[in-house]
Amino acid sequence: MDIKEQEFSRMVRENKSTIYTVCYMFSNDADEVSDLFQETLINLWKGFESFRHESKLSTWIYRVAMNTCISADRKKRKLSSKVPLSMKINLYDDEDHETKQVRQLHERIQRLDLIDRALVMMWLEGMSYEEIAEVVGISVKNVGVKLVRIKEKLKQK
C-alpha cells in the first residue's frame, strides 16, 4: 500500500460510521446499504487525490456520500461493481433494543424526500447551518427555512 492508499484507508476507518449512516438512511434493505457504501467509497477514492482541504474533511465526506446516495437512488441498483464492501451489521433484521431504536429513526427519516433526508441527518448530527449549507449547496438562510419545514413535516406524520 502506498502512502496515499494508507491515508485513504485511515480516513475511511475514521469516518466509516458517518459514511455508513448516510448510506443506511438512503437505503431500503441490507443489500442496498452495501451497494451504496461501496459506491460511496469508490467515489471518495476517486475524489481523494483532488481533495485540496479547502473545506473540512468531514464536510467533503458528507458531500460525496450524500451525492452518491441521492444520485444512486435515482438510478436505483444500476451499479455494476460487485465488490462486497460493507460491515458485518444488519440494521434491518437484528432485533435488539438498540437496533429497534435505530430502525425507528430510519423509518422517520425515510418519510422525507431525498434532500430533506440529507438536511435533517446533518442537523441531527449537530452540524452547523454553515456546514450544512456547504454540503448541500444552498444559502445558510435557506437551510434554516428548510429545517423548520422539515421539522413541521416530521411532527405532522
Binding site: K16, S17, T21, P84, S86, M87, K88, Q101, V102, L105
Partner: protein, 193 residues
Amino acid sequence: MEELNFDEMRNQITLLKQKLDHQEIVNDQLLREVTRANMGTINWTKYKSFICVAICLVIYPTTMLYMGIFSKAFVIFTCVMVLFCAYGTYYVHRPVDRMNLMTEDLATVAKVMAKFRKQYNQWLYYVTPSLLIPWLSWAVYEYAWKDVPEGMNSWALTIPILVGAVIGLLIGYYWHRRAVNAADKIIRQIEEN
C-alpha cells in the same frame, strides 16, 4: 398522531454511530482473493507430492530392480507405500479441491480448512511414523545388513540411508509446514473478519 421528539432522534443517531464505530469494514472479495492466494500454496504442495510420486514410480522400481540393491518384495512394498501416500494426499485435499472459493460462504471455507489442517497434522504425527519406521528399518536391513560384502562395515553403510531419510524428512516437513501455515493463515484471516 405521533409526538416526535427530536432529542430522541439525536440520541438514536448517536446510538447508530456508536454501534457502527465498533464494526470493521469487511472486504469479502479481498478476503477471498487472499484466501485464493493461500490456497495456491496448498495446491502446489499437493502437485509437488504427485510429481514426486510419479517420478518415484517410474524411476525407482526399474533402477532398484536393475541394480539389485533391494529385494523385489521391498521395491513392491515401497511402490505400494508411495501410492498409499499419494491417495492419502488426494483424500486430505479432496474437500479443499471441491470447494468453490468464490461462492462458498466463508464460515464453510474456514471449516474445510480446519479439517484439512487437522487431517494433515494427523498424517504427520501418526501415519508418517507408522509407515516410515518399518520402511526405513527394512531399507537399512536390505542395504546394510543383508548380504553385506566382506570387508564392508554395516554401520557405515547405514549412514547414507539415514542421511537420505533425514533429508527426505526435512523436505517433507517443510512442505507440510507450508500447507498447514497456508491453511492457518486462511482460517485466521476469516476469523479476524
